[in-house]
């Protein structure tokens, strides 16, 4: 990456300690190297303290992008990334990114400036109740009242963001607090709470497995957030039990794993959904019975008893009653879980046959470039360093269905909130978090336009990101639903007046090209993956292509619609 990223040498002359300097020093003391931010009036003292701090500041071109990029650090590393914005619109622009992190349990520390305390509550310029606005979408939040509290608050914020069920923490700092003289604080070391283990729950879970003839693992993003991926892989292997995963759980078992039946749910694989509907024991590890995964909840896994492993006790029996709750840290729990199923061979064989029979095919005749085939080929060519960062919509589901993932970090997606505009800034953050990875931002034409300004960030820092824009000139997923469930009444989904994305990228100073024929795919992917700097591949695809299979609203997961209807 370009060295224009601003790492500034320490100052020679000491400057007086202020609240703002404490903010910066506390971040450095906690090992933060990179922050994503955008300056403005109420956060100016912090920006004044940045030069010479050793912190690398990445200037995104919209605060929403700062939040997405910082959250990407948390998604890749399980350590909280940091975003910084000013008060008022700066803070409100962070909201979507913070909410996205909240919904997907991603650690994030967001620092916002606030107007000075004497004018708080007077509708001052760029004053907004950031604390109140963000309250439902943060794990915790602070208004800092005294500069001397800053080191302790920042230390606590990282603790809260990263431990237990991770999530975003907001620190709102009035400008007078930033400017106030402060004592050089001591930076409390992070603490790691002792893991808890539910021994009784584990023994009951093992008994339930012994009684089952059709057990099935249902693996969610909680396994990733808790760092239990290796343990889950070992558990699945030693048990011999088939497994399905949620969108956030993709990559926990690598694509092609013989026991892995694929993603369940609305756009899940037929093999996965059939297994869920037929199993007699569903072993939920870190999933939350999200409606996109369950379809009609009352019809979900109708024959199954449920074991539910979750760190967050409030998730257990929230939507589906758990027959065996196991509420504790996933990593030690999964390690200690010793299921000994017997007589499940016919069930295993049935699922293996279905897995092979339901594998996607790419040889059907289509007009133009078939996006699922392109994405499948992309992930094959990119190899184990591949990190797919889809946006939201049809292409997001195609990525989930057709790409090959060697690890969960190979698939960074906005699951809970489903935020269009997610891909490009998140991919920027992912690339900073893991510079050696082959990070590919994959957007539709709708979502790409929502954070297109981040092409300037690629250019500014020379971020060697691969960007794919799959352009069907529509809001494709909405168009598909209008065609299927609204009698084909296409309302406000036509984007055929899109700009030429390759030309736009070139105007930002980013190499770009367009492909629109199947025979151009292979060379296009080679050029994309071989580029040394930032590059964009604009792909024109069939505007009428749909995502299949599909579980219609109100239907059970086995009642899937497919291409033939």
């Amino acid at each position: 990456m370009s060295q224009t990223a601003r790492t500034i040498a320490p100052d020679a002359e000491p400057r007086p300690m202020t609240g703002a300097r404490l903010v910066v020093e506390a971040l450095v003391a906690h090992g933060i190297e990179t922050v994503f931010g955008y300056p403005g009036g109420a956060i100016m003292p912090v920006y004044d303290a940045l030069p010479g701090s050793g912190l690398r500041h990445i200037l995104c071109r919209h605060e929403q992008a700062c939040a997405f990029a910082a959250a990407a650090v948390g998604r890749m590393t399980r350590k909280a990334g940091v975003c910084i914005a000013t008060s008022g619109p700066g803070a409100t622009n962070l909201v979507t990114g913070i909410a996205d992190a909240y919904m997907d349990s991603v650690p994030l520390v967001a620092i916002t400036g606030q107007v000075a305390q004497p004018v708080m509550g007077t509708d001052a310029f760029q004053e907004i109740d950031t604390f109140g606005i963000t309250m439902p979408i943060v794990k915790h939040s602070y208004i800092v009242r005294h500069a001397d509290d800053i080191p302790a608050i920042i230390a606590e914020a990282f603790d809260i963001a990263e431990h237990g069920r991770p999530g975003p923490v907001l620190i709102d700092i009035p400008k007078d607090v930033q400017m106030a003289a402060a004592e050089g604080g001591s930076y409390a070391a992070r603490h790691t709470p002792a893991p808890c283990l539910d021994e009784e729950g584990l023994r009951r879970a093992e008994a339930a497995v012994r009684e089952a003839k059709k057990p099935l693992f249902y693996i969610g993003g909680g396994t990733v957030r808790s760092g239990a991926v290796d343990e889950v892989r070992a558990l699945v292997a030693r048990s011999g039990i088939p497994a399905v995963s949620t969108l956030q759980g993709l990559g926990v078992l690598p694509t092609g794993h013989p026991q892995f039946l694929g993603m369940l749910g609305m756009h899940g694989s037929r093999a996965a959904n059939m297994a869920v509907q037929e199993c007699d024991l569903l072993i939920n590890v870190g999933a939350r019975f999200d409606d996109r995964a369950t379809g009609a909840l009352e019809k979900f896994a109708p024959h199954a008893r449920v074991i539910h492993f979750d760190k967050d006790a409030s998730e257990i029996s929230k939507l589906r009653r758990a027959d065996v709750p196991v509420s504790c840290d996933l990593k030690p729990a999964v390690r200690s879980f010793r299921p000994e199923p017997s007589g499940i061979e016919p069930w295993v064989k049935l699922n293996e046959e279905r897995r092979q029979a339901c594998a996607p095919r790419y040889d059907a005749p289509v007009s133009g470039i078939y996006a699922p085939a392109l994405l499948h080929r992309l992930s094959e060519k990119a190899g184990d360093k591949f990190v797919a960062v889809p946006d939201v919509g049809q292409h997001q589901m195609w990525v989930a269905q057709h790409c090959r993932f060697s690890r969960p970090q190979a698939h960074i997606t906005s699951g809970g909130l489903g935020s269009m505009g997610f891909s490009l800034p998140t991919a920027v953050g992912a690339k900073f978090a893991e510079p050696d990875a082959c990070v590919v931002s994959i957007s539709g034409d709708g979502g790409f336009m929502m954070n297109i300004q981040e092409l300037a960030t690629l250019r500014r820092y020379g971020v060697p990101l691969k960007v794919i824009v799959l352009n069907n000139s529509h809001l494709g997923m909405v168009r598909q639903w209008q065609d299927l469930f609204f009698e084909g009444n296409r309302s406000e989904v036509d984007l055929s007046d899109n700009p030429d994305f390759a030309v736009v990228a070139q105007a930002f100073g980013v190499e770009a090209f367009t492909i629109d024929k199947p025979e151009e795919v292979e060379a296009g992917l080679d050029r994309l993956l071989g580029a040394e700097g930032p590059i964009l591949m604009h792909v024109v695809i069939d505007p009428n292509e749909n995502v299949w299979p599909l579980v219609a609203p109100g239907k059970a997961n086995h009642e899937m619609l497919d291409k033939e209807g």
Binding site: F131, M135, H140, S141, R145, S314, S317
Partner: protein, 96 residues
């Protein structure tokens, strides 16, 4: 109408009450009455809530409040099907 009463023990820090109230409303419950008092080392809140619609689990709400940072413990006190009678249901509250 089902009325549930919680006792919530929390730290005395900025925003705790607002956060508790937010969770209750966000998760599909209505706050019917609320009493907050300072106790040694923290704050004791007694709150009566009723659900919007059916199929709301009071135990899930209890755990969702209890997982808030600065909330130490949430105890479900009692259930009634009576309309809340303002402050007199909370015995030591003074009507101001």
């Amino acid at each position: 109408m089902t009325i549930e009463t919680f006792t919530i023990e929390s730290d005395d820090v900025n925003g705790t009450l607002r956060r508790v109230w937010t969770v209750i409303e966000q998760r599909g419950w209505s706050v019917r009455s609320l009493l907050v008092e300072e106790v040694e080392g923290g704050v004791m809140t007694r709150v009566q809530v009723s659900p919007y619609g059916n199929n709301r689990s009071i135990e899930t709400l209890r755990l969702q409040i209890e997982r808030l940072y600065n909330v130490r413990r949430v105890t479900l006190e009692r259930r009634s099907r009576q309309k809340p009678s303002r402050w007199k249901e909370i015995p030591h509250a003074a009507v101001i």
